[in-house]
Amino acid sequence: MRFRRTPFGAPGSRRVSVRAVRAAVLVFGASVTLRTLRAQETEPDRLARLDANTRFTIHVLMDSAEMAGLPSSALRSIALQGISLKADSKTIVAAVRQELANLRTARTTLGPVEPEELTAAAALLHAGAKPGQLEKFRVRQRGRSDLQAFTIWADLITRGVPSEDASSAITKLWDDGADDATFLSLWNNVQSDILRGLNPGAALQARVRETPGRPPTAKGQPPEGQQENTRSE
């Protein structure tokens, strides 16, 4: 009869080290995982990640916005975006200040519009549009939204179309009664032209000329069914 000794040696020698490693890995992994999950569950406000001074400044700016009847949620969103992108406190405060200034300008220019329209106009100003270029949008048909126009406008400036060219093109289409689909079609065409190597400004002008629109209304008079925002800050 042949007997073999167990290859693992005396109980408690190598097994201790294997168990110790396993236990260490188990405890470390469990603590990291649970701590992270718990931290995410209990985090009340992501603004709390900012230092006290920055957080105070952000709250003051948000209070200012609310007192002026502006959507403070837009300021909070900018701050949270900065936190997610790991921007430094100084940059975040500057961005929130700029957003508040843009919202004020948008309100002055457009009048008492809905918060989402105000936010879109502020984004357009941030993209590079001038306040005076938004004046045309103070007058609009009841139920007509200028959000898509603002979006395409902001994109065109971002792609290198001169601000004046973008403004005149979008304003012309707006006056012609272009709908959202027309603005999107224009954007698609200009984008493909730019990708083919055309100058952004030239591509836009060419595409606007071939974009159909309704006949413009009499200059200075809102068309039938349109209203003017008369109140301003």
Binding site: T33, R46, T91, L147, T158, W187
Partner: protein, 429 residues
């Protein structure tokens, strides 16, 4: 066998039941059916294999239920089910922790079946999103097998990803894993070469039950004993994706003494090919050899299979946390009206493991999309009417504006995508 049949049918039915929108956004599932040929002596030479899989995903956790049933002559020959829960921490400085818990049951006509519960923790270290290593440890507790103690399971591995999904030769992932198992088992007093073996000094000779005797191939009246066992598996695997073709191959070697490792489990090789006919339908074929799984009471087997995979929402097969920071791989992006005023974000990007979006609608916190097809990702969101800013990233890479929508410079010198939700779109359904 009724219990297993009901379990398989329930799992299969769960794949077909439409869920609420919030839940459906986090569910992925697939169903495999095909002809399976084996040579393990347990199953008939040729059977039909049905394998449903169901997964519920959350940002840092997922719950998976997976089953397989082998049918022959309309009789269920063997059923195998496993429920897994995984918690994953976010990656911090390239380090990620993972906790895995599994509960499984395997039943066949021959034996009573086996059960196992195991818990495992892994710590991953990622290198530049294209490679990594991990170290893990855990405990597995089997029942109704020859193993009579908890098994210490320690594993370590390394992986590397080569190529890119858009490259001519696709992308390949190479993985090497070393897993060590240590446990006590009731063993025959003879090894596989009929040589007599000693028992553990602390474990006397024991009389084995008839079921255990069948497992040990012992004659009545012959004793077995409890013995400390250990074996280690070294496995190398390759997963290669090029176009609609996915190839997986693995080869391994089991280290251990002859009374712990049977000759038919010393080496194994297997390969599987998947050809995607569409986003949700694929043909699968393959074959090879699988080693015995002592903790689950499953013998070594050679197999060949050919079948069809119907993926309502296919689950990624990659076994390692592969990441590629290439948001430029995103082929298309669109928003569609969904039920109850929700908007569905639909993104097409192939060869990646995760797709996230963030924007003003999420307070700029990342939201993970659910894979709905081979390269189709979706997420339902309550987007209010207005202009929304949105960014996308894949595999934890840099945030970028999605393709195909207007963009603008954001307040932090980056670029952000712009999505307009009109009141009509918001209330369209």
């Amino acid at each position: 066998m009724n219990e297993q049949r009901v379990a398989i049918l329930t799992l299969t039915a769960a794949l077909l039941i439409p869920a609420q929108r919030e839940v459906a956004a986090q569910i992925v599932s697939k169903f495999e059916a095909g002809q399976y040929s084996v040579s393990d002596g347990v199953l008939p030479a040729s059977t039909i294999r049905l394998a449903p899989t169901f997964q519920f995903e959350m940002p840092h956790a997922k719950l998976t239920a997976r089953g397989s049933a082998f049918l022959s002559d309309q009789q269920l020959q063997i059923a195998d089910g496993i429920v897994s829960g995984t918690f994953t921490s976010p990656t911090v400085y390239g380090v990620r922790a993972e906790m895995i818990g599994n509960a499984s049951r395997a039943v066949d006509e021959r034996s009573l079946g086996t059960d196992q519960v195991d818990v495992q923790t892994r710590v991953h270290v990622l290198f530049h999103q294209n490679g990594g290593v991990w170290l893990g440890g855990g405990v597995a507790r089997p029942w109704r097998v020859a193993v009579v103690s908890s098994a210490d399971v320690t594993d370590a591995g390394a992986w590397a990803k080569v190529g890119e999904p858009t490259a001519k030769f696709g992308v390949a992932t190479l993985t090497t894993t070393f897993t060590n198992f240590s446990f006590s088992k009731i063993a025959s007093v003879h090894d596989t070469s009929s040589a007599s073996l000693s028992c553990s000094t602390a474990a006397p000779m024991v009389e084995v039950s008839s079921d255990m005797r069948a497992l040990l191939s012992e004659s009545p009246g012959v004793s077995a004993c409890e013995r400390q066992s250990r074996f280690s598996d070294l496995e190398a695997s390759l997963r290669w994706e090029v176009g609609a073709l996915e190839l997986s191959a693995a080869m391994g070697h089991r280290f251990g003494d002859s009374y712990d490792v049977t000759p038919d489990s010393r080496r194994w090789t297997s390969a599987t090919a998947t050809v995607w006919l569409s986003d949700r339908v694929a043909i699968i074929g393959g074959g090879g050899r699988q080693p015995a799984l002592p903790l689950r009471g499953l013998p070594a087997r050679s197999f060949g299979m050919a079948g069809l995979e119907i993926a309502y929402s296919p689950i990624s097969k990659t076994a390692v946390p592969v990441s590629l920071p290439h948001a430029v791989l995103v082929r298309s992006f669109e928003t569609r009206p969904a039920v109850n005023g929700m908007q569905k974000i639909v993104i097409r990007v192939g060869g990646v493991e995760t797709v996230d979006v963030m924007g003003d609608f999420s307070d700029w916190s990342p939201l993970t999309l659910t894979r709905r097809g081979r390269d189709l990702w979706e997420l339902a969101l309550p987007l209010s009417p207005g202009m929304h800013q949105i960014n996308v990233r894949v595999d934890g890479g840099p945030w970028m504006s999605p393709p195909g929508i207007p963009t603008m410079r954001d307040a932090f010198n980056g670029e952000v995508g712009l999505v307009v939700i009109t009141p009509r779109e918001h209330g369209s359904r």
